[in-house]
Amino acid sequence: MSDATTEISLPYSDVLPGAVLAIEAGIDGESLVLAPSKLPAVAEHIRDSEGYDLLSNVTGVDYLGYKGRTAADRFEVVYHLYSTTRGGGPKVLKARLPEENPALPTLMPVYPGADLQEREVYDLYGIRFTGHPNLRRILLWEGFHGHPMRKDWKEAYYEAESKPFKSRHPDGHHAWAEDRNPWGSNVTYPDGFDPETWNQPVFMRPLEGRSGNGASGSLKTDRIVVNMGPQHPSTHGVFRMIVELDGETITALEPEMGYLHRNHEKIGERNTYLMNMPYTDRLDYISSMSNNLAYAIAVEKLLGEAFQPPERAEYLRVIMAELTRIVNHLFSVGTFFNDLGAFFTPLFYAVREREMILDMFESVSGSRMMCNYMRFGGVAKDLPEGWLEMCKELVFERLPGKLDELERYLVGNEIVQQRCIGVGFLSAVDAIALSCTGPQLRGSGVPYDIRRAEPYSIYDRFDFQVVTFPGCDVYSRFLVRMEEMRQSVKILQQALKQIPEGPVQAAKAQGAYTVRPPVGDVYGRIEAPKGELGFYLVSNGSGNPWRYRVRPPSYINLNALGPMVVGNKVADAVIILGAIDIVLGEVDR
């Protein structure tokens, strides 16, 4: 872009002169390149005057060695802002940072929901967010050396140089990466590191209590710090909460994660685009079809028109995604009741229906859980014979009744209501500010559903309601899930009636194993069962993504965990966490 045009048309030059450095045209529309120091001011202005109130995604990118980039703009932090009231596409802000000591001001005063995402960028890229109140490592541990998502960070067992594995079987002999790269030999240890005198730094922020300190005449009590997890039946995996208690009341909470950080994004940069498809299954492993869909949509945006799926494939995608939503909500409701203390019985009912759907998945994709069914430009293969009839029977005959049954058992239950109503309060304003999405946001009465706000695939054809409940508590979130299952059934019924015959993959996409999208970056997102699932991809024109970022809904929903839990009883922390519905595969990636 020539300087002449940027001179004339730079936005916000009247209120914030010098803040916007350039406008970049991209596949997603325009993005604004900002002066890093002006970022909070611009964000605040955009939020207040244009209504972009939801900070959806914060991505760090390392452009070391990327064509056209130098050490002066090696790092980039990308922000995607959306409007919960208007819907529509994103406002994309970018800040470019130099190689030497990259830092920019935190967005937390404007969007408190930037908290966890900024910490992640700091952890993986070493980009500092000045003013962030708790800038510590989040996925890796304190004491880890280096920032692994940087392009020049090399790991043990690094195999990319020898891929595809020509050398794995030289002369018919097996070779292991471990042998070429003995354990630990390519780990960089900091100067003077001595294992015998090493003490791992303690990485807990000192928790500040709010009561019981003897002030204003109250009784002086001791507070105790209790550690829940990473092995704890209520944390739904390897999640850890460190809570400080005053009696039974929680005065502070510090989440600790990364126990399942399996380097999804780093591996994703090494894989070809298609190789990432099965990996997405393992993000939120309860709802793999939705993950497939989100990734396929993002890559198709990058690939352009020729890869738009044909009609039948679109219907298949919607059918699978909605079945997945039912699967996910059933499981989440079931485990939620585990957390409440109704140990396993509701889960048994929920899992029974889930198994029916998993059987359908298995017959179409070959796997119960890790479906790997979607492809760019369509789906992997057409339905087996008789599948539609089976599915129709399930959706028209069985599921509505079973959902009624579940509702009869659970929703009106007095104990459940007593336990849930008013617990884990999160106001609509806070929910938006903390970047919550999905049932957590709608349980606070905000009618924001991407299927409506920015319809993707063919969701604009279906008649369904965006479910909200105004209670702002765990009970509302539970009700949202129950009701969303009905809406999914409704969508399924329409889709099953309308589905046409035809091909299931775009002609050009068939057999295209290694796609090479044009240079550019793109953000594709869907309404996954847990919230907004997005993929931010940067392509440099080669067969591997330059950057492969997952916007994990349950990770970002955890922003609200602390605010919701503090002030509640310790037993309620368990159900508040359960109502967020986290899956660690996605939280930690």
Binding site: Y189, P190, P195, P233, Y259, I267, R368
Partner: protein, 317 residues
């Protein structure tokens, strides 16, 4: 009823039909086989299939192992159900140590067995068997509940073949404790050879880089009442006993005090001239006479054997 062995106590007539004779091994193994208590412990995707294996369709309780306890003290089966990360392996080993003997480990899925799809990851341990003894491996990604049940049955068969006389946990010298790995810049075990390896790759490499560095004369201030030479150490700590600093023009020589050690990255100044003083701990006073000629001179450091370590020359104004 079978013949009693010679010398066995006779069983009274009236209870004969109520007595069963068997081996200790059989009764011991049967008891353990059908009351395995797995731990509530889900790592990743595979854990979901484990939960499902406990529900009505697959019904784990048919095999006598439905008592799933969250406390390791009450469990004898550790099911490693998913990707083991470096951050998580520390608690896993600790949990294993907390379980009472006899205890068994089942590695469920590709990840727990060998790293699975995430093997190359920087935070992934490629297989729990690098840290814990595994009894049964269940392949799959994830293994179906049926496969998991099959794995459990394989474990039961394994238990049935054990004998009280040979199992390790009744031996006198047996502790069964696994050393808990440590999270440093990377993960490492605490076994002596692990420590040695880490020291080799870490400390020694650092040392090697340091050893390539050396002592140099960094600056020479030859003007004023207090003239001084700045010597900097970019190598290892250096004992300077017997080392000397010499001047080229006047051929004077200064011997460093015996036992003086210059630490890595430290600086030392050797002062001379009428105003010479030693303000810092490392500073030395050579003489109250001026040493360095204003019109040009050269300084040299010699080690104890008289080899030149570093030299520095200047042309005066």
């Amino acid at each position: 009823m079978a013949e009693l062995p010679q010398g066995a106590a006779a069983v009274p007539e009236d209870v004969q039909s109520n007595v069963l004779l068997t081996t200790i091994d059989w009764i011991y193994n049967t008891g353990r086989t059908f009351s395995l208590w797995p731990m509530t412990f889900g790592l990743a995707c595979c854990a979901i299939e484990f939960i499902v294996a406990g529900t009505a369709r697959y019904d784990l309780s048919r095999f006598g192992m439905e008592v799933i306890r969250p406390s390791p003290r009450q469990c004898d089966l550790l099911l490693v159900s998913g990707t083991v990360t470096k951050k998580m392996v520390v608690p896993i080993v600790r949990l294993y140590n907390q379980m009472a003997e006899p205890r068994y480990v089942v590695s469920m899925g590709a990840c727990a067995t060998g790293g699975g799809p995430f093997k190359e990851g920087y935070n992934v341990v490629s297989g729990i068997d690098k840290f814990l003894p595994v009894d049964v491996y269940v392949p799959g990604c994830p293994p179906t509940p049926e496969a998991l049940l099959n794995g459990f049955i394989a474990l039961q068969q394994k238990i049935k073949k054990q004998s009280v006389r040979t199992v390790p946990w009744y031996r006198k010298d047996y502790t069964g404790e696994i050393p808990i790995p440590v999270l440093g810049p990377d993960i490492f075990g605490t076994a002596p050879d692990d420590m040695k390896r880490v020291r080799e790759v870490g400390l020694n490499r650092t040392m090697a880089a340091r050893a390539a560095g050396k002592l140099t004369i960094a600056e020479l201030h030859y003007q004023g009442a207090d003239e001084y030479v700045v010597i900097r150490n970019s190598g290892l700590a250096q004992d300077m006993t017997g080392w000397r600093l010499t001047s080229g023009q006047g051929d004077q020589s200064y011997a460093f005090p015996a036992g003086f050690v210059l630490m890595p990255d430290a600086e030392l100044r050797v002062h001379s001239g009428p105003g010479a003083a030693a303000p810092a701990a490392n500073d030395q006073v050579w003489t109250r006479q001026p040493v360095w000629h204003n019109e040009g001179d050269a300084a040299t450091i010699l080690d104890a054997d008289g080899n030149v370590v570093s030299s520095f020359s200047y042309k005066g104004s």
